[in-house]
Amino acid sequence: MKHLIPAALKAAALLVLAALPAAAFDGPTQTVTDATGRSVEIPADPARVFAAGPPAATLLYALKPQAMLGWVRAPKQADLPYLLPLTQALPELGRLTGKGDTLNLEVLLAARPDLIVDYGTVNATYRDLAERVQDQAQLPYVLIDGSLDAMPASIRAMAGVLGVAERGEALAAYAEDSFAKADALLATVPAAQRPKVYLARGPEGLETAGRGSINAEIIERMGAVNVAQSEGKGLLTVSAEQVQAWAPDVIITIDRDFAASVGNMPEWQGIPAVAQGRVYLAPSRPFGFIDSPPSVNRLIGLKWLAQKLYPAQAKGDLAAEVAGFYALFYGVTLDDAAVSALLGD
């Protein structure tokens, strides 16, 4: 009896160990440390990668579209001309992180991924989520820091994970160059000439994102003053009266309906941005220029913002910049007509 219990425990332990797949990759593997400090063993050249949320999907698309298993949200019809053909028909698999999982783990496993990547907020919740999914699905799960300032480093990190270091270097260099150009431009604009900006969302334009929110981050990065202050980081509602009181010089919107109707809405009249025609609709295809998702797509948003916020100081040909960015990051060649359709001029 005395010997029986340890023996039974030993047998049980052996059984459990045998049930664990011992890094079930056929080819060579590498071990990476992700943004949460977790050490994860992954295939050296993962061919089937699942992106956990929209920001990761956009980064994965830019770095290694041939490894995509699906979209978090399927692209809309109007997005398709701006996407590589091989990704256009990929299925919508749902999201794994953030508010409300819409992905069934069995669906995920049925897609036979080698690797799950996420690109976004790094905190205890997401670290724990990565651990849990990794345990439950027995798939390596790598989380990369999604903050704007860390973007060049994060692109390199993700490229290393995906086994496309060279392509990652090209994109990261572009990101570094974009930030450097933004800083150089800002150095020529005194603080007094920086516009007050209101970010309008929703058909009424009354949803916004405050300072420090990831949804409005690049407005501050481009040196403008976001008029909306808030303690929280999420979206907020305001009234037209509050916008009148803020008197923004520029309104950036991501809502087509609002951009079309703001000129006729009596409660928006008299606001400097409306009076001077400085209401700009951010392009959104295939990915938004301001956010949606907050990923590498914001790099071209920085250049677009520079032209809209500082028309006197910003130099360069925006159409050529856009065509160059879409060729490098999205792998699509846009002719002049496609660029003007995108920019809406």
Partner: protein, 322 residues
Amino acid sequence: MLAAGLALALLAGVMIGPFPMAPGQILRVLAGQGGEAQAATVLWNIRLPRVLAAALVGAALAGAGAAYQTVFRNPLVSPDILGVSAGAGFGAVLGILLGLPVLAIQALGFGMGLAVVALVLGLTLALRAGGQVLALVLCGIAIGALAGAGVSLVKLLADPDDQLPAITFWLMGSLAGIKRIDVALALPAILAGLLPLLLLRWRIGHLALPEDEARSLGVDTGRLRLLVILAATLVTAAAVSISGVIGWVGLMVPHMARLVTGPRFDRLLPATLLLGAGFLVLVDTAARSVALTEVPLGILTAVIGAPVFLALLLRRARGWAE
């Protein structure tokens, strides 16, 4: 006294707001004596419609609450007992999901709120329980839960970057986006519902009596109850369709009014209307003034309403118990 209170609340609502204006300037603009164009835009297009909408919605929700409480002979009833808020919420979020224009979203909310109550009434008739309070309430709970499930489904299907925040804000209730046209469209429906309630308020009071007593007074309880339910539903659906879901007003304000007037419906209803209007105008003034960004009304009314309601319970509000 209550009317004076409402007048003061309206004055506060017109005077206070995030756009800085001196009282003299406001009065000049209101009197049509010129003033700044910007101030005129803010007052005529933003602040006045909003204060008016707050008064209308507050009166509508509170009045409907008092009517429902009397008809169901239950002080815990609020205007959404038959699922009208849940239905209107479902209609509106469906409109947001479909990307409809704002007026169409409001119309869908209004229509769906009415449709849910029509369904509840139809169901109780089909169950041969027409007019029976318990059957009505149970059907209301069931259909309301269905509409709630519909809201959850729409949230799941909505674009998380764009539509989901709009849906969330709508469900928390706000008057931030009110325009003149919204007030103009909701006003007839609200008046059409409140007018019969006001005109018949003596008779409606008899509905609070036990069934046979009311009948012996010559009241056709079944038909009158149906009429009150229809009128109160119309009023609630119209209010919710422009303001989003605002809880507590319909439950709490009638109780506050009862402290002033006692339980008789003919006195209770006018007091409830005035008190509800003034209450929501004040709460909405706070909603746009306490922070730089809007505080959703549903949150404020709950934060104010729950403690007040509990205090009333603790005082064993003599208003209701005979």
